[in-house]
């Protein structure tokens, strides 16, 4: 390090103020956060390039006008707080970018104090923390999901262990009826663990949808094939109604099969748990919704849902199935429908049944 004297003798030091101003400005402009200096009327005295890039030209505009689109100042304003008490303030908020995207931000305001001790202006720094917030949410979900998946898998292990014990006892006694009973329990749990594993795959972001032209009728037949035997063994009838005029459409076939499969499985479970003595019926339909859209419907005459259940349906790991569900099923449904830019309508009444309608574009 050179001494202050040596620095003073250096020719560059004569222009140090100019250089510092230029480099400060250039650093402020390239910072990945919004830096501004605001006057008492909340008008921009200074704004960095990041603000100009994301919100347009701030000259002559107010902070609330440019960043929020408001005519009046925000009801809770950290800049106003700093003007009032001359303190640094930190808070969180959201901003709508020119692209319409809503971003979560952390805001810090600090006073620029004049020689008379008054606040001449307020510097405001806003950092976009949307990605951090998203990562935080994902981490929470991941933690919960690990706990609940572990619960589900342990129940399946209990079934496998119990089933295997019954098979062994049957073989020991040369009682094949008993062994067969145990084997059915083992097979049921193999089916369960396969379903869980597939739902984990489809609920993760890793899998890319494979879009190709497919006839929706084929998808319904695939799903019926998957569940016909299982439903039959529970005394539940699967009925399919397909409009033969439906054209081929672009879709991720295995994703749509999984999505419908989860809805059908829920419908079967709802019938199984229904208290009335009617035969459980599950209808699977594929038809036009209107000229631009087609729909899949899964309807059951099972136990139906109350309003609270309906509201929580698509929340991660919400389940009413006690030991027999992770709540992953409808999350997978939701994710696949969103991948196809479609929507889901749910109609349900306690004691009458439920209808899930997935509306997708024909284009």
């Amino acid at each position: 390090m050179s001494s202050p004297l040596a620095q003073a003798a250096h020719p560059i030091s004569q222009n140090l103020d100019v250089l510092l101003e230029l480099s400060f400005k250039s650093v402020l402009d390239s910072l990945p956060c919004y830096v501004s200096i605001l006057d008492t009327g909340y008008q921009f005295i200074f704004s960095n390039q990041t603000i100009r890039n994301d919100f347009g030209e701030p000259a002559g505009r107010t902070c609330h006008g440019l960043l929020k689109g408001y005519a009046k100042p925000c009801t809770k304003c950290l800049v106003a707080d700093t003007y009032q008490d001359k303190q640094i303030h930190i808070g969180e908020g959201s901003l709508k970018l020119a692209t319409g995207e809503i971003n979560q931000i952390i805001i810090c305001t600090a006073p620029l104090i004049g020689i008379m001790g008054n606040v001449m202006a307020v510097i405001k720094i806003a950092i976009n923390i949307t990605k951090i917030k998203e990562a935080h949410k994902e981490l929470i979900i991941l933690g919960e999901s690990m706990a609940l998946l572990s619960h589900d898998i342990k129940n399946i292990l209990e079934g496998l262990q119990g089933g295997a014990y019954v098979v062994e006892e049957g073989i020991k006694d040369n009682d094949m009826t008993l062994a067969g009973k145990g084997w059915r329990i083992v097979k049921k749990n193999i089916f369960e663990i396969t379903r869980v594993a597939q739902n984990i795959l489809y609920s993760s972001k890793k899998r890319e949808p494979e879009m190709r032209m497919v006839n929706p009728a084929l998808v319904v037949r695939d799903v019926i094939g998957l569940f016909q035997e299982k439903a039959g063994s529970m005394g539940i009838q699967l009925v399919f109604e397909i409009n033969p005029k439906l054209p081929v459409v672009k879709m991720d076939q295995s994703g749509i099969v999984r999505m419908l499969g989860n809805l059908v499985w829920n419908a079967i479970e709802a019938c199984r748990k229904s208290d009335d003595n009617n035969t459980g019926m599950v209808y699977i339909r594929a038809d036009y919704f209107n000229k631009q859209q087609y729909m899949f419907e899964v309807e059951d005459n099972g136990k139906g849902m109350d309003d609270k259940t309906k509201q929580n349906l698509f929340r991660e790991f919400f389940t009413t199935k006690g030991n027999s569900g992770t709540g992953l099923g409808l999350i997978v449904v939701d994710r696949i429908v969103r991948q196809h830019k479609g929507r889901i309508d749910v109609l349900s009444k306690i004691g009458v049944g439920s209808l899930f309608r997935v509306v997708l574009s024909l284009q």
């Binding site: 706990a147 572990s150 129940n155 079934g159 119990g162 014990y165 006892e169 049921k188 030991n323």
Partner: protein
């Protein structure tokens, strides 16, 4: 001395069947119930020596509720209960005997999948101490 009777309360029919078979073949008389309500009725009729109780059943009259009912009844309050669930460790469903006494108080808690040796030892210990 006659066989001791164990009641298995679980909403999963496979669990009732496999656990019932295991306990019968281990020398116990077994009664089963698919929910807390049926469990409570059968407890009053048959007075089992021990209850093996799933705490995560779908029915509103869940394992927690049945446990409270047993503990609040002067005839059955000392009935040994083993709580069973696959949730114990992961989501912090751990019970403090002192603070959770009112809410849920099984004598002990066993995780699923059930370790059969541990289960038999626990049953034997609880039956002896009772």
């Amino acid at each position: 001395m006659g066989k001791k009777t164990i009641m298995v309360v679980d909403d999963n029919p496979d669990f009732r069947f496999t656990m019932g078979l295991f306990l019968e073949r281990s020398g116990f008389e077994v009664i089963t119930a698919e929910d807390g309500k049926t469990g409570w009725e059968k407890i009053q009729q048959r007075t089992p020596d021990l209850v093996l109780l799933d705490v995560m059943m779908e029915n509103l009259f869940s394992g927690f509720e049945l446990c409270r009912q047993i503990r609040n009844n002067h005839l059955f309050k000392n009935l040994p209960i083993i709580g069973i669930s696959a949730m114990a460790e992961e989501v912090g469903v751990s019970f403090n005997q002192e603070t959770d006494q009112e809410y849920f108080s099984p004598n002990m808690f066993i995780d699923k999948p059930v370790d059969k040796e541990l289960l038999l030892k626990s049953i034997s210990d609880l039956l002896k101490s009772n």
